[in-house]
């Protein structure tokens, strides 16, 4: 759904800037929106998600916290119950283990346990992903860990346009939304950024709907499903494959929970081939859910559906170990060829 625009009018933003802009505009529009987290004040967020907000809105609404994730995420739930709309940052998703109770047993279940009488309009933004040598406690994705637990919506943009629109949808939502952003797409100078994530972002406020995947490239021969970073890998692979006469359809999930099984079903009904590309751990992950959902829809496969993922090992530190474990365009190309060879193509 990336808007196209002429070079002259383009406002090409990074995801970091798009997130900050969305939060800032929401804070302007609604005094109930406040921001909490570690280093989100003067520093503007380790991943640039709250740039300029302290200066604009002051320390009352942009609150640096102690390193006390259980308390401040719990506090956010209390704020939300009292009618505020907190945007909270969990610096790395890897830290969920110290505060998951406040997320999955508290925030996620407020609405249900109260029979809908207490709502929890809370955005939990958190960084995911590796590839830059930060080792096994700072490089995880854990998409499925969050998506498995009811009561949470989970989104992840692959570009700045979606980042702004999904953030605005998340802030407007009456429910807890886990907003994951991928470090390889974030646009922080010090991290390196996939250029395709930096796109035109309209100045005005707009929403990208939660729960809807996007078909970012049409194709008839094989369906490549990705999310966040892996969307870009899939697009890159699709270009290579097109030169060989294989037309890949690329789906950007955008929302992980609730998953848009329908969008995948429509595509595989046509292509009858599927590869899910996911940089989270392999087993019990997004890739399994996408494949299971597609199977349930009753596809007459031309080739067995497959997944390209990080394997079931902790994420190693050395680039010599980590890089070969990650999904890549080359792996997608190779597996796509295998699936299409001998098929209807």
């Amino acid at each position: 759904m990336t808007a196209t625009t002429t070079a002259a009018t383009a406002r090409r933003l990074t995801i970091a800037k798009a997130m900050s802009e969305a939060i800032g505009q929401s804070m302007d529009a609604d005094p109930k929106v406040i921001v909490l987290g570690e280093d989100i004040g003067a520093l503007g967020g380790v991943f640039g998600t709250t740039q300029g907000l302290l200066e604009r809105f002051g320390a009352g609404r942009v609150r640096d916290t102690p390193i006390s994730e259980t308390a401040f995420i719990g506090a956010a739930v209390g704020l939300a119950a009292a009618g505020m709309r907190p945007v909270v940052e969990l610096m790395f998703v890897d830290f969920f283990g110290v505060c998951m109770d406040a997320i999955y047993n508290l925030a996620a279940k407020q609405s249900y346990f109260s029979g809908g009488h207490v709502c929890c309009p809370l955005v939990l933004m958190t960084s995911v992903g590796g590839g830059y040598g930060d080792a096994g406690q700072h490089s995880q994705c854990l998409y499925a860990t969050f998506a498995h637990l009811p009561g949470l919506k989970v989104v992840m943009p692959s570009n700045a346009y979606d980042a702004k629109g999904l953030m605005l949808s998340a802030i407007a939502d009456a429910n807890p939304v886990v907003f994951m952003f991928h470090k390889a797409l974030q646009g922080m100078g010090w991290l390196g950024t996939v250029p395709g994530s930096i796109v035109h972002v309209p100045q005005e406020m707009y929403e990208v709907p939660i729960g809807k995947a996007a078909t970012v490239r049409p194709g008839r021969d094989i369906t490549l499903v990705g999310l966040g970073l892996t969307v870009h890998l899939a697009l890159q692979a699709a270009t290579t494959l097109a030169a060989e006469g294989i037309e890949a359809e690329v789906i950007d999930l955008r929302t992980i929970a609730p998953l848009d099984h329908g969008a995948v079903a429509v595509s595989v009904a046509k292509s009858r081939r599927l590869i899910v590309v996911d940089d989270d751990y392999r087993s019990f992950g997004v890739s399994a859910e996408v494949i299971a959902g597609a199977c349930e829809s009753g596809v007459d496969w031309l080739a067995a559906p497959a997944r390209i993922t990080h394997p079931d090992v902790p994420i190693p530190y050395s680039p010599a170990l980590e890089h070969p474990l990650l999904p890549s365009a080359a792996k997608i190309v190779e597996l796509s060829r295998q699936l299409c060879r001998g098929g209807a193509v």
């Binding site: 506090a75 109770d101 346990f113």
Partner: protein, 327 residues
Amino acid sequence: MPAECDVRIRMYAQMARSRYFEEAIKVAYLEGKQPLFNMAKGPIPGEMHLSSGQEPCAVGVCAHLRPDDTVTATHRAHHIAIAKGVALNAMAAEIFGKRDGLSGGRGGHMHLFDAGVNFCCSGIVAQGMGPAVGAALAAKLGGSDAVAVSFIGEGAANQGAFHESLNLAAVWKVPVVFVIEDNAWGISVAKRASTAIERNSDRAASYGMPGSFVADNDIDAIYAAAGEAIQRARAGGGPTLIEIETWRLEGHFMGDAEGYRPSGEVAALQTRDPLIVYRQRLAAAGVSTAELESIEGRELRAVTDALQFARKSDYPAAESAFDTVFS
């Protein structure tokens, strides 16, 4: 002093209501669970944590609260819910898993929510502490003088959330009062076997906040200590930690054989049953037996009515299990 007397009589009424409620629930809970006790059976399933004996903590504190003040409570929360003014019929119906329950039967005994009086409770030890800090911050940011009170047990004071929440409350200087009901037991583990110091109120010093200890399950002393803390909070003076010595007259949950409990402990506590003690104190202060009995009659009827309401209510339609996952 009629005003003070009023308060004491109101507190006695609430304690009585709470006790009658627990006794009625106890009877109902055992229906269908005899002769073979099976938690799943009968009109009230699941675990049941009764609060008999702990009424003074809830009533003495909540006597200072308004509907716009927030209370977050624990797995053992009936007395606190009643003291905070949660709708009694809907609460009973919730515990019976009925459609007219507070949450249409989705939450149950450990998840009582009443948005009308800003009450909630939870099954995870110390989980309510962060939310209380948040509710207090919301009040502060909104310019209201509302406060939040977080109730926990003494066992919960060894959970990480305790430390984080007290520190955060102190750093933010928000109007919250943390109340520890020290009933000396966390299930089967005695306080002295799990807590490195005698009084959790001393831990207030770690956060630069006032801490106070109330001995002997004494509701008048609790009322006084809580009043001071809540008034300080309303006036912008920040958080307070209060530990209250109280007693668990029942097992941890119903069905608990309490083999771990020293013999005679409960019997000794029963002789100091706070309901009886307070009744005597009020009588000594001049409240007539007739008045006490009229209060008791009224509260018993309210409880009886609530349980009848609960029993008469229908079960929710199965499809409603899919509602309100998201608001």
